[in-house]
Assembly symmetry: C2
Homo-oligomer: 287 residues x 2
Amino acid sequence: MNLARTIEEVRQEVREARQAGKCVALVPTMGALHAGHMSLIDTAKGACDFVAVSIFVNPTQFGPGEDLDAYPRTPEEDFAACEERGVDLVFLPDVKTMYGGGGLTTVSVARLGETLCGRARPGHFAGVCTVVAKLFHIVQPDRAFFGAKDYQQAAIIRRMTADLNFPIEIVVCPTVRESDGLAMSSRNRNLSPEERRQAVALSQSLQLARQLIEESRPPAAEIIQAMKEYLAETAPDGEVDYLQIVDPRDLSDVAATDKPVLVALAVKFSRARLIDNMLVDSQARTS
Amino acid sequence: MNLARTIEEVRQEVREARQAGKCVALVPTMGALHAGHMSLIDTAKGACDFVAVSIFVNPTQFGPGEDLDAYPRTPEEDFAACEERGVDLVFLPDVKTMYGGGGLTTVSVARLGETLCGRARPGHFAGVCTVVAKLFHIVQPDRAFFGAKDYQQAAIIRRMTADLNFPIEIVVCPTVRESDGLAMSSRNRNLSPEERRQAVALSQSLQLARQLIEESRPPAAEIIQAMKEYLAETAPDGEVDYLQIVDPRDLSDVAATDKPVLVALAVKFSRARLIDNMLVDSQARTS
């Protein structure tokens, strides 16, 4: 495995891979790698011959007062995990490498970025789209891999890729969870032990929503109310940032739950804001 | 020469060219090709083995009340001119091919796009950047060619290309002029004979600015005043849209003319808004 810190090194590595006829995968990450990332890497390795992982805590997707400084950084462990997993190239740029030239250009996606996390974090998705566009141009992969835990991010990246005709296939992989159901996230490291116990309430509240929808398809407002009550009781140290039931295609709020819906929430603990989501299709009930 | 109307056809042609080891050039145009475009094509042919010309009157770079409908369209003549000039591929998409998927994504460049034509045409450069990003992804050229008549556009495209790490070299070619000095433009076709006679005042006013700067480096405000008086007298049917003297690097207004400056103006006639510009470096005086 090679470690590249400059854009030129990445381009050289990828050029050689491509000249050898290899299909190139990119797994963009912010590091502090966990089993969710490993799942993306495994999927990428199954789909392509050459897997590049980028590790960059992108400052432009953090707002004022957010956790840019507190975001966990574990480059040595990340590097070892990538090596052990058979990654071909790790791209570990610094901020100057990524934004030294000026950074006047922004890529933004209307509508999809204005709800859920985008409403709570203004400018966040423009930061995400811009850095992903840069990484796409630096690595020029055939396929790029994103996690479903960040459903909205994946939807926005898909939209950006289609709208701007990037010659790249976007692959979205299922959320990986701890044994108690908590979605894997680098930010879980910033939970206190007590908060970690309470944090299971996020996925449990989503299970509650699924159960309610599969039983009786109640109006979205009723489900949201039930989830809020559950969260208040089970995760008293968490503050609900948003809790929405939306159309999975355009992320617009829905009132009814008789069609497929995405239930999504964000909960703030003292040093970590966690997100989770679940697709629920009442018509696909299997039980 | 081949004509492609779909993205898939373009990609197929470019893939074959690249497999044959060819360097790929893109000359993005809005058609109604003139000698300025031919100069871009000739330069592209000198620099690359495979030259693609796109012809697309991009609606998203026209504002309400602008000349989208009146913009000249001459596809048959354009096609013949490209063939005669040795172009390899003409990409002639319709609006649905370019924006049928949704078009929620925008690429924009801060600051550089907020002055000169950007102030007069809000949203114009976001439209330009977005369609150029799309064309870059569709054609994936090694080099792309733009004209210096659209100095601000070229500066913005350069900035976008660098900021987003497009693996593309931007080449800016000199403005081509009619024998009396009028800058070549598709919009010149929309001038009445009398307006055409008056339109020479744009380049003549730029020559006046150059002469003043080379003689005595007067303050920018004095030069602008002299140019306005010249235009009022020589082109009474034209209305000055803007007339600015700016730093060529960041397009910010300058007060002094002792360093290199860009003198740029736009003048509206009844059915055509014309632009022109000139780089003047008082220290590089050759006479």
